[in-house]
Symmetry: C2
Subunit: 263 residues, 2 copies
């Protein structure tokens, strides 16, 4: 079993990715983002992201109802259905699912962000949370009958409300439940870079044992991504490949070891 | 088996409809529209519908790539996922599907519209067509495992391209394939009206045998709707109820005979 995570950047070569996947013999599940589509939609609608800063100085996107609507349009709507269409054209019998559909991805809603507002401490609650479980029987049912699940956010919380979450966390829960041995993460870079400004500084291989030390050297989004990889390996993945989603054959290249291979 | 078609108008009481459906013992499938959401989105994006007029004087919406993207956002995206969310909250284990997902609804693309452009005859081809088949084995698989399919456009054509179609036609193919005995069509009116300006002019009952004569008395969209009903009955539906989707209990009322009952 392979989990293929397709990044949501505008430069991702969807055509190439799906053509490669059509050649794969092993079972696979797709998880995808759509941030470029969503950002464009938000801009066109004049609904920019709201960012809030917690009392501890941590900034995060405020997922209100408008943002969830945008995610349903961008992620579960146009990006998901265009990927499903492309899959069908290449002979992959894909079925797009948000985490809401058949409770495919179930999460727990965040308790709220502690913020100062007008000098007063306040708890701001939004529609965001962490995935905790996937509906394995639904995914197995579809896979056993030849359908390929194409998963994306939003997911469903304990009150059956739509919530935003990180796709990396969805991949983690999915890997653990489906016991996928390989996770391919297709991004808009050649892989993990020593210097994020220099695409020539690709780290070709990171032994699993070195991952924690590597995590200390980086920060921000990259640190979170490395932590996500470490968790995948702890939960039984034997190989994680962070690879370029922009090339002619992104999946073929990733599976043949191009990119950053962590095992 | 009941097919419940939920109109896409802004006045439709989704909450009431889903609460009613949660009480139903019989199997059902949902088909829904989203025209209010789509029109609002198109307006907010500054992408109005393009209407073309054929050489024979017939006007129709031109379904270009932008329109299909909008449909994916409005129909398969936010409207579908909000309905699925509501279903899950009421205990219905819904799975949203566009016609693309698992080739749930397969159609044939229109050959093109003959138009005059700059005095010259031209064939304008768009992404629209007619549904011809549904993936019965997928719908049965889901229903047999306790999932309720929530279907919407776009559908998939013979080249696996996303195309626009009329939801009434989707309902027709679905009824024929699933052999549904009852079709409930929830709209923003009390049912078929003698005078479309007067909600008090509800036609309570139309015997199937009178339907063709009735069709001759009306025109435009209503004529198309009556033709659609006639085809449902010809293909084995025993009862079609056109009922108000705006009330407190739209489905309960419809099944108890409020609205226009055609049988």
């Amino acid at each position: 079993m392979i989990i293929v995570k397709i990044g949501g950047g505008a430069g991702i070569n969807l055509q190439g990715i799906i053509e490669d996947l059509a050649q794969i013999q092993e079972r696979f599940v797709i998880v995808h983002g759509a941030n470029a589509v969503r950002d464009k939609l938000a801009e066109d609608l004049g609904q920019p992201k709201k960012v809030v800063t917690s009392v501890s100085g941590y900034s995060s996107v405020y997922s209100d109802e408008t943002l969830i609507d945008q995610m349903m349009m961008a992620y579960a709507g146009v990006r998901n259905k265009r990927i499903v269409e492309l899959c069908q054209q290449k002979g992959i019998n894909a079925i797009g699912l948000s985490g809401l559909d058949g409770k495919a991805v179930q999460g727990v809603r965040n308790k709220g962000i502690r913020v100062y507002e007008g000098g007063k401490l306040k708890i701001l609650r939004d529609y965001s949370g962490k995935p905790e479980a996937v509906n394995k029987s639904l995914l197995d049912l579809l896979l056993d009958h030849g359908y390929v699940p194409v998963l994306t956010v939003p997911i469903i919380d304990e009150q059956s409300t739509a919530i935003n979450t990180e796709n990396d966390d969805v991949v983690r829960v999915l890997q653990k439940t489906l016991r996928a041995d390989t996770v391919v993460n297709l991004i808009e870079a050649p892989g993990f870079l020593e210097d994020k400004e220099d695409e020539g500084s690709l780290i070709r291989r990171i032994p699993a044992a070195e991952l924690e030390a590597r995590e200390q050297q980086v920060d921000g989004r990259m640190k979170r991504k490395m932590l996500a990889v470490r968790k995948l390996l702890e939960h039984g993945a034997s190989r994680v490949v962070i690879a370029d989603g922009r090339g002619e054959h992104p999946v073929r290249d990733a599976l043949s070891g191009k990119g950053t291979v962590i095992e």
